[in-house]
Amino acid sequence: MDRKRGNPNHDRGPAFVRRSRSLTAADMPAPGSAAVQIDNFVFGPQAITVPTGTTVTWTNRDDIPHTVVSTDGVFKSKVQDTDEKFSFKFDKRGTYAYYCSIHPKMTGKVVVQ
């Protein structure tokens, strides 16, 4: 039994764990891209640091819809249902705080260097 959720569909660790155990080309993010997963009402990793020009893709792996909304209005996803993805390209340096507007306890940030 999956200790996390009791749901086999969610028996997948955070993205960085998966990649470390399967370093195949298919699993690696394309150059200039990075990934954030939503699992159990948490953005993972909660803070991510990327170079300028990186496209960050969020994937919702919960059974409940979420959104990815910049606190300062820089980006705003539509509602993301299970397994849906949202991407945003960060062209400017800075720290971008964001949250889920449906479950505002869920927060994260992207640091662009």
């Binding site: 959720r5 919960d62 059974d63 479950h103 505002p104």
Partner: protein, 375 residues
Amino acid sequence: MLSYHNWDRRLMQLLDDGTRNKNHPVQLVTQNVINYGGQMPHKKQDLIDQNLQDLNDDGVDRRGFLKCMAWAGTGLVWTMSGGVPVSRAFAKSVDKTAVKGADFTFVQISDSHIGFNKPANPDVTATLQTAINKINAMPQKPDFIIHTGDLSQLSKPSEFDTLDQVLKGASAKQIYFVPGEHDMLSDNGEQFLQRYGKGTKGTGWYSFDQKGVHFVGLVNVANLKAGGMGSLGHEQLEWLEDDLRGRSASTPIVLFAHIPLWTIYPDWGWGTDDSAQALSYVKRFGSVTVLNGHIHQIMQKVEGKVSFHTAMSTAFPQPAPGTAPSAGPMKVPADQLQQMLGITDVNYLVSGRSLAVVDSPLGAGSSATANAGGI
């Protein structure tokens, strides 16, 4: 699914909470009993009984009440009379007669999440229909229904259409709605307002009177701030203060909103940041009942003359606070699902100004009142 390990941890936490707060030691424990649907291990039941006896100095037979809850795992009758909260097991309840002779009755349904199709409930339309059938079978036809939000899963027009189709079959034609966060996903709730909130203020708040009881529907799911919980906002709070001004303190007040107006579990956002302000406006009233949804399980608390109550969902259960990594849908075996979904009906007696709140799961009896008489 909950392990005994989790159960232990949560129980101890609850008992600890109860020991520290003698004003309302029992409500969270009660909720847990309901959640476990009578499957509580005996040792734990003894522990609760012992603890409750120690704390029980208000003349309410909570021990017996909880025992009955543990057997039945069904519902509870909760009355408020002259500001004195009294909880009873169904079997001891005067509310069997209260139901028959009530001045009026209404039913609360919540969290129908039409469009949700995952475990543990791939057919939330069917369980909503079961809830409506249960309401239609009540001996006293309810005057109206209150839906406390999350009508839909994704605010889709097709989901609202399906909801409307099912609700059309309800014997009570008047239905009052407040939105949940799921109903305001793509358009800041405009569609919700068009369909269910005509004539309301702001993002959908309003009040109405029914036979001397003043009802206020509040919206605490709009414009949520990063890191926060539910929020009413300044404009709505001002309106509420104004709405209640000048009303007699003897007027029974019923507040309803989607997210609980009391802090249940901040880590999961189960509370409303500015609810204390709202509650300060109702302090002077002799009888205040607060009805919420959002957490898909029954919890109640009494604070002074204010009683708080959350309803079961008609769609899927959610875990007790802190017993799972997140508030996501709780997967339960199919044969247990209907015990964890349900409706709440509320009876009001003008004499004594009392409200009786009765929760009943979808999977028991043909109606709440049949259930009340049957235990």
